[in-house]
Amino acid sequence: MTAAAHVARLGGRGIAFVNELGRLAAFAAQVAAALATPPPRVRRCLDEIHDVGVLSLSVIGVSGLAVGMVLGLQGYNTLVRFGAEESLGTVVGLSLIRELGPVLSALLVTGRAASAAAAEIASMVVTEQLDGLRMMSIDPVHYVIAPKVLAFVISMPLLSSLFTVLGLAGGYLVGVLFLGVDGGGYVSSVQGSIDVYEDVVPSLVKSLIFGLLVAMIAAFRGFHAEPHSAGVAAATTSTVVVASVTTLIVDYFLTALMGV
């Protein structure tokens, strides 16, 4: 292949990427318009919150506890070298609230709920359910997509908070009960180092943004899936890959922007 052909191929990919971003932006505008258009789909949104939030509770809970226990162990092993094991609560708390809670929750929700949402929407394309809605003069974005997106945006900060709280409990379990760190010291170092406005609020904002991004990617990939079974598989896989990578990249910029 000649150099010119390489450049042409690269250019083609660049154009396709920009085109895809434009389609995603147009789709996001459609979703925003649908969210602002009555009637509100309260019942559908509650059903989606059940699917996204309630059904993710066990995954988030177990993972949060496990991550907290690992942080407690690793933090203790490092801090004890400097005789600073009483700061274990600070290390576990700040790591979870500032970074691990929002990011890992987003990744777990991507794997469990966003992939399922993309597959569900894509299979609705394949089985003509979305066309069926169109033929009933019902906008599929209003009926199917908007409630799903809203459910992710509402659920993600709550799941992230649960992850963080159980992570703190995991750190306490390992540090205080197994390794002999003072319980009162652990709790007071968590209390003393975490500020509501500087740590907790930005962490919730991060989760909310991740929820929106993950939901939009899943909905976009599902909604624009090719109408055959391979299209469902492709939509699901690309949702997991794109949403995970996007979460990590956006996390860097949010951290730099908000200082958390």
């Binding site: 089985t127 003509e128 359910q129 069926g132 809605l133 033929m135 003069s137 019902i138």
Partner: protein
Amino acid sequence: MEGAGEVAEALGVEITGLRFRRGPRVIFDGLSCRFPAGRISVVLGGSGSGKSTLLRLIATLERPEAGEIRVGGELALSLGSAEALRRYRRGVGMMFQGGALLNSVSVFDNVALPLREHTELGEAEIRAQVHRIFEAVDLEGVDELLPGQLSGGMTKRAALARALVLRPRLLLCDEPFSGLDPATLRRVEALLLGVNERFGATLILTSHHVESTLRIASHVVVLAEGRAVEGAPGEVRASAQPEVREFFADVAEAAP
């Protein structure tokens, strides 16, 4: 069909010079045909001849490159505004090949959905209307079932119920006989005849099933190589056009 209600004037469909391609593949290149108002028309043709695409074009789910589709004398293609499209689709019911029922809600809620969305009826009246439609399509005891729990024939009838619930003036049915055993097939045939008689709607069906077509259709359109041959069933069956003869010969050969 008793109690199912009446429908306003049926809509005829006229198609002129339709051109449509999917990717590089040309499906129609100057297709012209008509579907008379108030009658049952069946579109026949081999796999890939564009039968389903033709219904989707009439339903405005696809846009052609060129040509005209007139439904009840109005140009279906010029439905620019969302409101015009909404009004048009309220007069057109579509029964999709696989049913296209929403998998996540019950059969009752599927059929009630258009009434909840587009009418001011109370829940009691909606329930009564849905049950009247269920009776009309010979479905019972399915209210709480999910679409995935229905048999193939029941899915077709539930899809027909949903397509009929707003009393359309034009009903499009994509392969209503596919995948049905002979007894269920005759039942669906009878239902479609009943819909045409009692509701007065124009029916356009696509089918591979020549026997059923000859039993219920009053107008037949055979699609072959992007063009249409049409007329009364007997006329089309006796057509000397090579593509049509080839189609019927293939069907006869494939018959058990």
